[in-house]
Symmetry: C2
Subunit: 361 residues, 2 copies
């Protein structure tokens, strides 16, 4: 079992901010990236938290991420934005565009934005959370490194492509669905491989494109691009609905890369040493476009209550609402958050290398 150390959130944010500043990201932008990463840890999504810091540091060093990029808006209507991230960090441009979209939606009821030529933007749910703070409905999608095979295909051609949707509630926590469109992310296979456990046969395929229970084989094949990869939500067969997960993954490629005029599928992260050309989609809807925020909050409380108070399946004691587990963790981690010792050490080493004082406890 991995060991954890509790660290102070404000100190952790400051430290991560300092790392990015040292790498030529301006202070305000560095703080945004730090906040997105730490928010993932607060919500229990460790795979997208400060555990990624090393990859970001490397990304900046090897030219995949431009630390001082100057993103531009290339097209704008009262209800839409097309932006070019200019190879910068995904969090910075997406935070900025989400803010602008919220203002547009406040005035004009809806705003959809697409961003091309960007990079990893952290947890997809961060941007709907920004909308929820303003009483708005928020949608966020991004394409990613290609890891998922299309139904009946052999090669990983589609990203794990998350979809996140946030809707404001009243007494209940806000609804926040944040899901990869693959059955599981790659990190889940790594966990099973480390434990020497077999995986369910709806998670991944081998080099022949056949569903497999061997996680290490899948990880090795993906590394060497030998064929096979993660399976879409629903698994590898139409019988189990795999074509639906594949369709959802395609929707994300289309709403991001295609609508923004960026790269898609296998062409994302396609050129070594150059920006990854990741694309994002942000949608903000003002509840006043529909029955209004009070009616929606009331309806959301009712539907959440109806689900949660209903009879449980045998052996189960609780029905969850999307985002509920993560919300409870974020409340628990108001001031401190547990960081895995290996991640802690890597952060410490980054500090040594960059000559930044490391004090996060």
């Amino acid at each position: 079992m991995a060991k954890y150390t509790d660290v102070k959130i404000n100190k952790l944010v400051d430290y991560v901010t300092n790392v990015f500043k040292e790498l030529n990201v301006d202070e305000q932008s560095a703080r945004i990236v730090a906040d997105v990463l730490v928010e993932a840890d607060r919500r229990g999504v460790e795979s997208h938290g400060v555990a990624r810091l090393k990859r970001y540091v490397d990304g900046i060093k090897n030219g995949v991420m431009i630390p001082d990029a100057k993103p531009v808006i290339e097209k704008e209507t009262p209800v839409s934005i097309v932006a070019n991230g200019q190879g910068g960090l995904g969090q910075i441009i997406t935070y900025d565009i989400t803010k602008k979209c919220i203002e547009k939606a406040r005035k004009n009821f809806i705003c959809f934005a697409v961003i091309r030529n960007s990079n990893h933007y952290g947890i997809a749910g961060y941007y709907p959370l920004m909308a929820l703070k303003e009483g708005m409905i928020g949608i966020s999608m991004t394409n990613t490194f290609p890891l998922v095979v299309p139904t009946f295909g052999k090669n990983a051609l589609i990203g794990t492509n998350p979809i996140a949707v946030g809707v404001p509630a009243g007494k209940h926590p806000d609804f926040l669905l944040d899901m990869a469109t693959s059955t599981v992310p790659r990190g889940k296979l790594e966990v099973y491989a480390r434990k020497g456990k077999n995986i369910p046969k709806v998670w991944a395929t081998d080099e022949h494109g056949t569903p497999t229970d061997d996680p290490q084989k899948v990880l090795d094949n993906l590394k060497e691009r030998k064929g096979g990869g993660l399976l879409p939500l629903g698994g590898g067969e139409e019988l189990t609905g795999g074509h639906k997960g594949y369709g959802l993954g395609m929707i994300v490629e289309i709403f991001t890369g295609i609508f923004a005029g960026g790269s898609f599928g296998p062409f994302v992260y396609g050129k070594k040493g150059q920006p990854a050309d990741v694309s994002h989609f942000i949608g903000i809807i003002n509840p006043e476009a529909f029955i209004g925020v009070d009616g929606i909050r009331e309806g959301m409380d009712k539907i959440q209550g109806t689900m949660k108070d209903s009879e449980k399946a045998e052996g189960k004691d609780r029905i969850y609402i999307a985002g509920e587990k993560e919300y409870e963790l974020s409340v628990k981690h108001e001031h401190t958050v547990p960081i895995q010792d290996k991640v802690y050490q890597v952060m410490q080493e980054i500090g040594k290398e960059l000559n930044i004082p490391f004090d996060i406890e």
Copy 2:
């Protein structure tokens, strides 16, 4: 094996139109409902085609559907509509609102509409198809009779809640994803039950809320509301991603019933002999909000080509794009469509009862 008879599409549409006219639906509206039903048969979605005619006839007779309802728009902005179907047939109000939304999106780039107090609206994909004819992007969702259990829940509280998304392509057929958010629809269990076949354990749960392979038991339990029901896409466990399908089903309940101020989940079709209070969502996006229709068509051709031309998994010879199979069938069925003999007979009986000449061959 069921037997089929080829019938003429124009005659079939005329006949179904006459049935609805006889039941007090005005001619223009009757023709819309007929077209939506027959389009499902043309595309091979028999479960949503004229096989439903009897249910519609009964629905009108027993007060669930109001044949001469006068739907009203209750709220409108430049980019949104909230409508009340007044208990009428879902196709009529949704066709009308989709037309209005396309006009709004032409002028103002985006239009989202929600409709409450409606009924079954046919195949969800029909309305994105209307958008595609105008070179627009179309989204459609509806809640339905509750048949799906929430993850870890015992009772069917959520509809099969389809999501349909259409995006215009160039040389390739337009992309059209049209998927229930359950792993399979109820009709699939009926097919397996008739054949005495077991179902995969990601399709449904028994009266204890435990995944089962016995389709007849599930159908009986659903009929008697004894517990259990269809499983969301991804099955009954978080391990296989069932919570994601559950989340998607909730998204549809929220974007339809909650945003429109209508019923949701277990309350849809909740009052016998009264309108079902089904809700729909329609979204139209003008490609000019993003990189424009030419760029999108070009991108769609590229992504479709990339998927289809890629290596196939062992034992598979073709990779499909969402909507491709249905498109090919619709081309094949330009003038005639095969109708199952049992459905043919039921239609004939309806004609006898209503005194309408039956001639569709």
